[in-house]
Subunit: 363 residues, 2 copies
């Protein structure tokens, strides 16, 4: 049997730096654990625009459709701020999500013991926090039509459309219930059903899907209250299910609670392919951080943990994912810190490559 295939898209800003460390980790799993991958690399975002004039070339899109998993670094940067909407770096990422039909975006918000002090929240509020946000990723206001800026009378109007079909809601709800079954069997769904009809349909479909998961305790919350409750008492949640736009905001809010933004991975999953593996893209939650790009300061952990998610969700290597995650936790417990994690007295930051090497050493 041939090796599973990985397409690496380092992208912009700190993307290439953190991805270089991930490649070493991938190499280690080949050398030491017999887990070999066919790795190819390509361009996305501003890096693709610079070469192709578009943030994702058609050939890259075609490759992404064929591989077993895509690993992405980050996209965007001030250099591309004035580009037309249609060729902005973000469009490359959005095209991948849409054309691969990656409808279920898993965003763990986890507070690492060694880092609980970094949170802006009180330690007892966040220590041990471990939430999984399931965000719908291929529909809603991100992709709904009509959209654009139109003339109307003697002025312009900006229009976007929030749009969810029953089947779109149902499939992402199922993925959230499946996850809840493997965790603490508690699921909270968030929308604005008090204001938006799309939220009413969302709540109705989620409630219907719940019948197939009688063991899961389902609750519903308005998204504004959800934001409040995340800040007030985040540990009340286990799995949170929400739509594309609310998920964008609520998952960033939850990520920041942990104080571990440079540490948080994500998985975007679609339907199973012929080989049974889901279409999948893995990426860190942090952005391209143009202010520190190219300086060897970036924290590679979020990207490394995104590869751990790939081991778990694409390659059924849960034990190897645990191994990698444990190595990261040990390195943190040893007090190894990149510059984003400073704050303790007398700690000197390590570079991106030193952090990568420390994790390799623990493996």
């Amino acid at each position: 049997m041939s090796n599973p295939s990985l397409l690496i898209l380092p992208g912009d800003g700190i993307g290439p730096e953190v991805m270089a460390e991930v490649r070493k980790i991938i190499g280690w799993f080949g050398d030491k654990r017999g887990l070999n991958f066919d790795v190819s690399e390509d361009l996305v975002g501003g890096a693709a625009y610079d070469v192709h004039g578009v943030p994702l070339a058609d050939e890259t899109m075609a490759k992404a459709q064929e591989v077993d998993a895509v690993l992405l670094g980050a996209v965007g940067g001030p250099k591309y701020d004035d580009l037309d909407f249609s060729v902005k770096p973000e469009r490359g990422l959005l095209r991948l999500r849409k054309e691969m039909d990656l409808f279920s975006n898993l965003r763990p918000a986890q507070c690492f013991d060694a880092l609980a002090d970094f949170s802006s929240l009180k330690k007892d509020i966040v220590a041990g926090l471990d939430i999984m946000i399931v965000r719908e990723l291929t529909s809603g206001v991100y992709f709904g039509e009509p959209r654009g800026i139109f003339e109307e009378g003697n002025e312009r109007v900006g229009i976007n459309t929030q749009r969810y079909t029953e089947s779109e809601i149902e499939r992402v709800a199922r993925s959230a219930f499946e996850l809840a079954m493997r965790r603490s069997k508690k699921l909270c769904s968030m929308e604005k059903a008090n204001v938006m009809e799309s939220g009413i349909l969302w709540r109705e479909v989620v409630t219907r899907v719940a019948k197939d998961y009688p063991e899961v305790e389902l609750s519903h919350m308005y998204a504004d209250n959800g934001a409040m409750q995340l800040v007030r008492a985040p540990k009340q949640f286990d799995v949170i299910l929400t739509d594309n736009l609310f998920g964008d905001i609520l998952s960033d809010c939850a990520a920041m609670l942990t104080g571990s933004l440079g540490m948080l991975p994500s998985a975007s999953l679609g339907a199973p392919m012929a080989n049974g593996r889901p279409k999948a893209l893995y990426e860190p939650v942090h952005g391209s951080a143009p202010d520190i790009a190219g300086q060897g300061k970036a924290n590679p952990i979020a990207c490394i943990l995104s590869f751990a998610m790939a081991l778990r969700y694409s390659f059924d290597q849960g034990a190897e994912a645990d191994r990698l995650e444990a190595a990261v936790e040990q390195v943190l417990a040893d007090g190894v810190r990149t510059a984003d994690l400073l704050g303790e007295e007398g700690v000197t930051p390590v570079s991106t490559t030193e952090m990568g090497a420390a994790i390799l050493a623990k493996l």
Copy 2:
């Protein structure tokens, strides 16, 4: 000259209890400061539904259009959860906002010194926090057409429309710049211009309006990053300008940072009337809190401070508003606490009426 007129709509849940305390405060300003108001009272939300079968009767709407200011308590409760969307308690509030054309919603997120310990955030992150969120309140996805749940093929689809015209963006932007001029001259506008065309138009119009306020330092932020930055370092902000839906979520997030949710008022302002006063509705940020309704436990401060905002923004009585706000701060500094504010050792909570009386005594 006749007295200025106030329409009081206590609404549901704890609304009537907290509003009863506000009426005493209003009475005090009449007796002691010669500020007399013609006060009338009417129904909104579930309370209106119970009597009229709609959450806001046409006669009440007509009254609201005529008075100098409306004071609202809160709407909603589990009793009304299964009502049809069109007659839910929230629709009463949304009708007031829309028909009075209250486009500029001011939501201060302020951390009271005496209460900084109540925040789930570390004290140094929130102590002294004083942000003003300006939320567009009459357009966007809350009111855009088409909307509804429609048949499509063999399933249903839920649709809402995010929609902003240039003039809608411009008028709320102006109100935010005016506020910024009276505060620290720093304004941050939040949208998702990287994903939504309506956000692109928003950013463009706000940038254009900024030319009329060269002293104001304007910045732009994506709303997801905005949520992060609010949690990470809220004191970086002074005035935040955002749309209806983002404002709903971000202002609740900001409110919760302060740990003072039972303390936060809001003002919703429209265009000037013939007498020069803006159309205006004032309401606490907290909801109807059905779990504690009718028990005399509710904190009346948010509603009392909403009246202080009315004194300032509708009646040009800034000094009297300061007086009322100072009385509230003193009562808090004295350690008087309603049940929502417990946490310190050995403090017994006071009731809603006791809190009202304590504030009256300070006046």
